[in-house]
Subunit: 326 residues, 2 copies
């Protein structure tokens, strides 16, 4: 794949020859060859040492290359007894596209590094990956396959932005704080899946957990509206907004937080994995206008000059986001 | 990192709050902040949703972006009882740079996705990664950290090539076949490490296993010499040369294979992980001239029109490379 499709995995006990009867990389290669679309003329995707892609012209405005990577680990980032391998693949790509969305960029290419899946499982995983790739206009151009005792899927993506990307560090005191939708749906969906009681009415919440949607159009709209800082909500609003506040040297005062129907306030603040965007913009910015044709973003508060101020509805806000033991 | 430095890892049993007393991502962030060099002005490396890098000018000749990724898995690609975490980090980056070398390109950026290492281990791993990055002129611009039950390090790299990269598929009947050095040292080094008997004389072999050197200068020289096809030797010469032959629709007739001092012929043909380059060029190409100042490459045989012909010293050649069960 980008480099070889199949990484030379060393099995320490092998004397240098293939394990007899092992369903190995040749079969996996065949699976992927049937699934993957052809590379555009003049480019090389899977099958060589590296993928070869054209560098797009950026015009007079100049532009930047965006690079992001993120791994999903079975049993940690996804419970494969509750979600399918196709969902796992979708999520592995979607969380990376969400990072491109959070810069106001457009995705271009993805590399997919898979550990610990056999050929049949790989086909299911890639089904979800390629579905997300088609939906969001991202070409899967390479990657590698490795043996391992549990499924880990690491995706790296490139993206492009004309002009300046929206960083986390540009928020100023007085800027309004916006989110691109109601929060907590993904966490509520996971809670319902675990409870084993999912009715038709809850299907939307479950889908928010299984198939998070990177907010690419919203990121571009926010950038067009003059967003001063932006990030995606992967660890929960409380935590992700704190990243903007810390990077920018501001505090925040939230008036209210939109909670998705069926979710709790705690899920909305700390559940994470909604992959909506939170951004800041000057009070005079024409935010609603830039979002014409999209779901309107919701103003939830204001940045303050005091960086120690983290408040919701007049009370100190708990850091309900995720701190992860490593 | 490229995207967040620390990926929002979900611990399925956590109710949404940090594990008490866990040495978590904030500590890991601090470790990396002390290790990483600052980004050039106008670029953003670690600490935002995605890394932001400039797209270099390519001049009139045009150019291509190269993308490669490769994972190393503890216990599969490296035995951490025999090699250090710094070596593991070096190798994780080096094997990716080798893929850029195999296209005749120059590396630019790396994203490092780490699963299953705590802050102290991370510092050791990054020591080796950053040593390789400095040595080979590659900026580590981002990545992520995830919890997991065993160490997996996935690296994705970008590279650039002016003009056309050297693919696997351009070899023609009659082309001479070259390797950039003697083979089998890495496999011999691993054998010695396992035996527990490593004398001073064997240190070079062990080093070839622990710290493989991507052949970046050699890849550029081979491209300048007009190489028609090229790949890196990660799975063993027999197997990697077969990739060139299959992609190009040619066979090969090898006269001899240079075996590293202390290695066996089997290690040279099938041991893999030497990360030298094998390339083809027309008989009239000025290969030695293009390698002035580098160790001279070694001609080992000729491409044949019959794709089923895989011969060494007049005898059919065994596919001694690695076929991996997944």
């Amino acid at each position: 794949m980008a480099e070889r499709l199949v990484k030379g995995v060393r099995e320490p006990d092998m004397a240098g020859r293939p394990a007899k009867g092992a369903r190995g990389e040749q079969e996996a290669l065949g699976v992927l060859a049937r699934l993957l679309p052809a590379a555009p003329k003049g480019e090389v995707h899977f099958g060589d040492d590296a993928a070869v892609v054209r560098v797009p012209a950026h015009g007079k405005a100049g532009g930047y290359l965006l690079l992001a990577s993120d791994a999903v680990v079975a049993g940690v980032d996804a419970d494969l007894s509750l979600t399918s391998l196709a969902d796992f693949g979708w999520k592995a790509l979607a969380v990376n596209l969400s990072d491109i969305a959070a810069m106001g960029g457009l995705p271009a290419h993805a590399l997919v590094s898979v550990v610990g899946l056999g050929p049949d499982e790989l086909a299911l995983l890639y089904g979800g990956i390629l579905e997300a790739a088609r939906q969001y206009g991202c070409a899967v151009v390479g990657g590698d396959l490795s043996a391992g005792p549990l499924p880990v899927v690491s995706v790296a993506v490139t993206g492009w932005v004309r002009g300046r990307p929206v960083l986390r560090r540009g928020a100023r005191p007085g800027d309004r704080i916006w989110v691109t939708g109601s929060l907590g749906a993904a966490a509520a969906g996971l809670r319902l899946l675990r409870s084993g009681r999912v009715g038709r009415a809850e299907e939307l919440l479950v889908q928010a957990h299984r198939r998070p949607r990177p907010a690419l159009a919203e990121g571009i709209a926010a950038r067009a509206a003059g967003a001063t800082a932006m990030t995606d909500i992967s660890d929960g609003l409380a935590r992700d907004l704190s990243h903007i506040a810390e990077s920018s040297g501001v505090g925040f005062e939230l008036e209210d937080v939109p909670v998705a129907a069926g979710a709790t306030l705690e899920e909305a603040l700390g559940g994470g994995e909604d992959y909506l965007l939170v951004f800041t913009a000057s009070p005079g910015a024409q935010v609603e206008g830039a979002f014409a044709g999209l779901a309107p973003p919701i103003a939830i508060g204001t940045c303050t000059a005091d960086p120690s101020r983290h408040r919701l509805a007049g009370r100190p806000m708990e850091p309900w986001g995720w701190e992860h033991s490593l």
